[in-house]
């Protein structure tokens, strides 16, 4: 079974790091943003074996070395379409009927 907690060298993984702590951030930020660190996620090939939460260096697609905390192994994408919006489901039916009625009336 795929191990989601440990990677070996060469695995495709994601590392996370903090680029700026709140105290070091730009001075003109809204309060809600200023209170948070500026965080970064980068994917690459693991240089060494590591467990999630360990410090790890990856080699990115451009060959750069980036060091951070191992956050995910073989990260995927799970965005979807989801359910149709109920406010929109009748739009097609209603507008087709209007166009047909307009043409029938000789428009």
């Amino acid at each position: 079974m795929e191990d989601t907690t440990r990677c070996i060298a060469g695995d495709w993984v994601e590392v996370e790091s903090i680029l700026l702590e709140p105290a070091d951030r730009a001075t003109n930020l809204p309060e809600d943003t200023a209170a948070q660190p500026l965080r970064m996620w980068v994917k690459g090939f693991a240089r060494t074996a590591a467990a999630v939460g360990d410090e790890l260096t990856v080699e990115t697609m451009t060959g750069r070395e980036v060091t951070g905390t191992l956050s995910e192994i073989n990260p995927g994408y799970f965005h979807t379409f989801g359910k149709p919006a109920p406010e929109l489901t009748a739009v097609g039916r209603d507008l087709r009927a209007r166009v047909a009625a307009y043409r029938k009336a000789g428009g």
């Binding site: 700026l20 730009a26 500026l38 970064m40 996620w41 697609m61 965005h79 919006a85 929109l88 307009y102």
Partner: protein, 470 residues
């Protein structure tokens, strides 16, 4: 601010000069004026060169489609004799799914020609997909820096899809939380790698869009006997308006009205961690559209090649709910399932066409690809999950960040005119502020400001006099 950030920002001029492959200082004329046309011509590519480069790159010559069903729908409720013919340029047919391929193809061609090993762009939008795709074809490395998540590590489905497609094209995607310091990190990456800055606002990118305006004028002339009376452009940073209008002019379509359109997101702060996921549009909205039109040189280049106020005849705003409704209508009536952001101009065009006579021709100059995440259903589901109220009703009741009101009938799609006079005043005020206290504009400055605000010297002088009194 951290010492590290200060150190990199102090070297901004030097880093960008190398990364842009151009010294912008040569175009400066005064603290206000610069030689815009000389800057646009400095890359040396003619429009013919650009069209040739783009054809080889799989970009351009997209279908121009007449929208007969939408036109008849509008005529069914327009005043007698009204309801212009609607057309759309299906830019989703480009390699990476949007008109941004036109921008990227020229930057990538230049990067290759100048011997850069790679390119870097800061974008959470379609431009990332375009740069990644073109870089892959040109065997160049590519880094896309994205503002992707709020502090909870939650990202809009549209941006997550953009991360995916960039990685699908082999780009390194650097994902950040909300904040303008993204720019200083991009500088660090440019410094570390020596890559070309494929800025959205360079002359390469904007010249690349001129082919779109050119194609619209040529194709409409072939189809209807004349260039369109109106072209509606989704407006954010200003490149789309600028490049399209310049292309129309090059094709001789000087009487075509250029109408820019944005989604109204007034009241939301673009650098706010909490507001970040309370908007359903990541571009094409007033949060970029107004500040970039009224001060284009806020961009990541010393002088922005995208100068929308120079070219727009009108600026219309629409609501998020209206754009989602039109996105659904386009799929059901015209068989065009496209991404919502690119349909901003379509919502404005439906309102505009309703008020125009039947012999007017309105071209919406882009569409964008759609898919998981980058789809109106996904975005409405995400809005609901983030506490935004979604309901059917009167779209004028919507409040950005709080509610999305979907029209119940197409008659409710009513774009609002943004006050162009207010934007011109704001632009002149910004230009004077950047020139420094006590600076008196010369006659050359007045001439530049008149061209940059699409007005005349007399109007600019009146604005300056009024600002002095205030």
């Amino acid at each position: 601010m951290a010492g590290k950030t200060e150190a990199i920002l102090a070297r901004k001029g030097e880093i960008m000069k190398r990364a842009l492959g151009m010294d912008y200082a040569q175009f400066e004329r005064s603290p206000i004026a610069f030689d815009y046309e000389a800057m646009m011509a400095a890359h040396g590519y003619s429009l013919d060169d650009i069209i040739r480069i783009q054809l080889a790159a799989g970009v351009g010559k997209t279908p121009l489609l007449e929208l007969r069903n939408l036109t008849d729908l509008i005529r069914s409720y327009a005043e007698p004799g009204h309801g212009a013919c609607l057309f759309v340029k299906d830019e989703a047919a480009n390699m990476a799914g949007s008109f941004k391929d036109r921008r990227a193809s020229i930057s990538i061609h230049a990067a290759k020609e100048k011997g850069y090993a790679g390119v870097i762009a800061a974008t959470s939008g379609n431009y990332g997909a375009a740069v990644s795709s073109q870089a892959a074809r040109a065997s160049l490395n590519c880094i896309i820096v994205q503002e992707a998540f709020d502090s909870r590590h939650v990202g809009q489905p549209e941006i997550i899809e953009k991360s995916r497609i960039c990685e699908a094209f082999g780009a390194e995607v650097v994902q950040l939380t909300v904040g303008p310091e993204l720019f200083s990190h991009m500088l660090e990456l440019l410094d570390e790698t020596g890559y070309l800055a494929a800025s959205l606002y360079s002359a390469f990118g904007i010249s690349g869009i001129e082919s779109l305006g050119w194609e619209i004028a040529e194709e409409m002339t072939a189809l209807t006997g004349a260039p369109p009376t109106h072209v509606v452009v989704t407006h954010a940073g200003g490149g789309n308006t600028t490049g399209t209008a310049r292309g129309l002019r090059r094709a001789g379509a000087t009487s075509t009205q250029v109408v820019s359109a944005s989604v109204d997101l007034s009241g939301l702060h673009m650098a706010s961690d909490t507001d970040f996921n309370r908007k359903s549009f990541t571009t094409g909205h007033t949060g970029f559209g107004v500040p970039f039109a009224t001060w284009p040189d806020r961009a990541d280049v010393p002088r922005n090649a995208a100068r929308a106020l120079r070219y727009m005849d009108r600026y219309l705003t629409v609501t998020q709910g209206e754009v989602f409704y039109v996105t659904e209508a386009m799929a059901k009536l015209e068989g065009l399932e496209r991404g919502p952001s690119g349909n901003t101009a379509m919502a404005a065009a439906m309102s505009l066409a309703c008020d125009l006579p039947r012999d007017a021709t309105v071209v919406v100059q882009e569409t964008e690809y759609t898919g998981a995440g980058k789809h109106h259903w996904a975005q409405l589901n995400f809005a609901r999950a983030n506490g935004v109220e979604v309901r059917a009703g009167d779209p004028t009741e919507s409040v950005p960040g709080k509610s999305i009101v979907i029209p119940e009938r197409p008659e409710q799609i009513r774009a609002k005119d943004f006050d162009m006079g207010k934007m011109r005043r704001s632009y002149v005020r910004n230009a004077l502020a950047h020139a420094g206290e006590g600076y008196t504009p010369t006659s050359e400055d007045i001439e530049f400001l008149a061209a940059d605000t699409h007005s005349d010297a007399e109007s600019v002088e009146a604005i300056i006099a009024a600002l002095k009194e205030a």
